[in-house]
């Protein structure tokens, strides 16, 4: 297999971008893990970390080919199953295997994102089964629709780095899982307070860092498009953070750290579909605007019985939808060489974006529901009330996050 020529500079950047996206999954583990109660810390983190194993391998075996190999409008073929024919020759301007690895990191984090809706109560085994199947049955097809040569891409839907494929998709799934599982037993009865806000801030900081690879890397090379996407990924969340802080101050006279961490993520989500399509100033505007609906969704949601525990819907669903639609408004051909949005004389784009959002939501919800019900036929999805009370760390993993070792008796090894 003699590799066909690759562009070295593009390869250099995509190597880095891939590493950056990979680190987002641990970062997500910390973002989420800081927000739960101490007795569920490890379980919440593991919900992200484990995706790096099972979802990643599922991607290598079957997900990649379903998403990216030549196939129909709806699904890829099996040419690249088990990474067959995925070698060092160029796909675009970079080695094919690097492209496949880059895309793997997207699939992994998308699956992990869902966990925010179901922390502190879902049994770990069924969770692993769920995200693995979901990555194949739900993620791969939608990725194919938009990026793999499927119908949404052909329709002209703009999704630079995954507003629909990643964020809206994950949020739609999150909604379904949260409803199917039901609320935590203490939800809306007791105060459930973040155990470690610094971890959440750390997660937000590392997510931002990794997101440069997520959006900037989606240009698939070290080019002007990457620079644009990169800059928008910097400035849009800055705008979100400012507006969010001002909303916080207006409402409660205080800016919160959890709020700041949330704002960063919302801004990153919202700019994701738009990153390479809109000008930097539009990017700031987009980030600033996106703060508002997500902010108020969180306020509203916490008053309902919907225990979307870490607000996946508000951050990724609402943020992603606002971003996807505003992409259809603010896109500029002079910046992206591809298409204008409604504000620049092409209202049709907004319609296309709308179709993409709706199609993604419907498919994701149905697919998620089917997978969950299938698993529930075999094993119960939810931990018992008692397990929930004791905490998922001890009951699911046999470990505690922070331990002083008091009163722990050594049982094994007793051979020594």
């Amino acid at each position: 297999m003699t590799p066909t020529p690759i562009n070295q500079a593009d390869t250099a950047w995509m190597l880095v971008a891939t590493a950056l996206v990979l680190v987002m999954t641990p970062a997500l583990g910390f973002f989420y893990g800081g927000l739960v109660r101490a007795k569920n810390t490890l379980n919440t983190m593991m919900m992200s970390y484990v995706a790096l194993g099972f979802v990643g391998i599922a991607w290598a075996f079957i997900g990649y080919t379903l998403a990216f190999s030549t196939g129909s409008n709806w699904l890829g073929g099996l040419d690249n199953a088990f990474f067959r024919n995925v070698g060092l020759d160029a796909k675009g301007t970079i080695p094919h295997i690097l492209f496949a690895g880059y895309q793997a990191t997207f699939c992994v984090i998308t699956a992990a994102l869902i966990s925010g809706a179901i922390v502190e109560r879902m049994r770990f085994g069924p969770y692993v089964a769920f995200i693995t199947l979901w990555s194949i049955v739900v993620y791969a097809p939608i990725a194919h629709w938009v990026w793999g040569g499927g119908w949404l891409g052909k329709l002209g839907a703009l999704d630079f780095a995954g507003g629909t494929v990643v964020h809206i998709n994950a949020a739609a799934a999150a909604l379904v899982v949260a409803v199917v599982l039901g609320a935590r037993k203490d939800y809306a009865r007791q105060a459930i307070i973040p155990q470690n806000v610094p971890f959440t801030l750390l997660g937000a900081g590392l997510l931002w860092f990794g997101w440069f690879g997520f959006n900037g890397g989606s240009a698939l090379g070290a080019n002007a498009s990457a620079a644009l996407a990169f800059s928008n990924t910097m400035f849009a969340p800055m705008g979100t953070l400012v507006v969010w802080s001002l909303l916080d101050i207006t409402r409660t006279k205080k800016t919160t750290a959890v709020g700041a961490a949330t704002a960063i993520v919302v801004g990153l989500v919202a700019i994701t579909p738009a990153a390479g399509f809109v000008s930097p100033v539009s990017g700031i505007a987009l980030g600033a605007i996106a703060a508002v609906p997500s902010y108020f969704t969180i306020l509203w949601r916490s008053g309902t019985r919907l225990d979307d525990s870490l607000d996946v819907i508000a951050a990724h669903g609402v943020g992603g939808t606002v971003g996807a639609l505003l992409t259809g408004v603010l896109a500029q051909k002079i910046w992206n060489g591809t298409a204008d949005g409604a504000l620049f004389g092409n209202p049709r784009q907004l319609g296309i974006q709308f179709v993409a959002v709706v199609a993604t939501i419907i498919y994701s919800m149905v697919g998620t529901f089917v997978i969950l019900k299938a698993i529930a036929l075999v094993v119960p999805l939810r931990a018992s009330q008692k397990e929930e009370g004791v905490g998922m760390d001890v009951t699911q993993h046999g470990e505690e996050a922070y331990s002083s070792g008091e009163g722990a008796i050594l049982v094994q090894p007793d051979r020594g």
Partner: protein
């Protein structure tokens, strides 16, 4: 004067606090403790090592009350703290010789009678 010391389940703390509130007990002090009783032990595994955790998280509540308040206080705790499963905890009533309020130096009964008044702390 008596000191009521209760060991309860952490998840029952809020209910117990509410019950005490309704029983008009205002002052109390709590701390995180770990207890051993008839509860099943948890087994944990860290790399090759298996460990039996014999202690369970509990909350200790300490309430100084004047004699007439002892019964209502204990009752409130028993009612709100029980789940019926092993591990609900205990209540101890200890005799107290003297109580002082640090702020004023007041003694005994008046030391534990709450003053609703000027602000403090946040």
């Amino acid at each position: 004067m008596k000191l009521v010391v209760a060991i309860i389940r952490p998840e029952k703390l809020n209910e117990v606090l509410e019950a005490l509130y309704r029983a008009e007990v205002r002052g109390l002090t709590i701390s995180r403790v770990r207890g051993h009783g008839g509860e099943t032990e948890a087994v944990e595994t860290y790399r090759g090592t298996t460990v039996k955790v014999e202690l369970h998280d509990k909350v200790r509540i300490e309430i100084g009350v004047s004699d007439t308040f002892v019964q209502p206080t204990v009752k409130a705790i028993l009612a709100a703290g029980a789940t019926g499963e092993v591990g609900d905890g205990k209540v101890f009533v200890l005799p107290v010789e003297k109580v002082y309020r640090i702020r004023t130096g007041e003694e005994d009964r008046s030391a534990v009678t709450p003053v609703v008044g000027e602000e403090s702390g946040v």
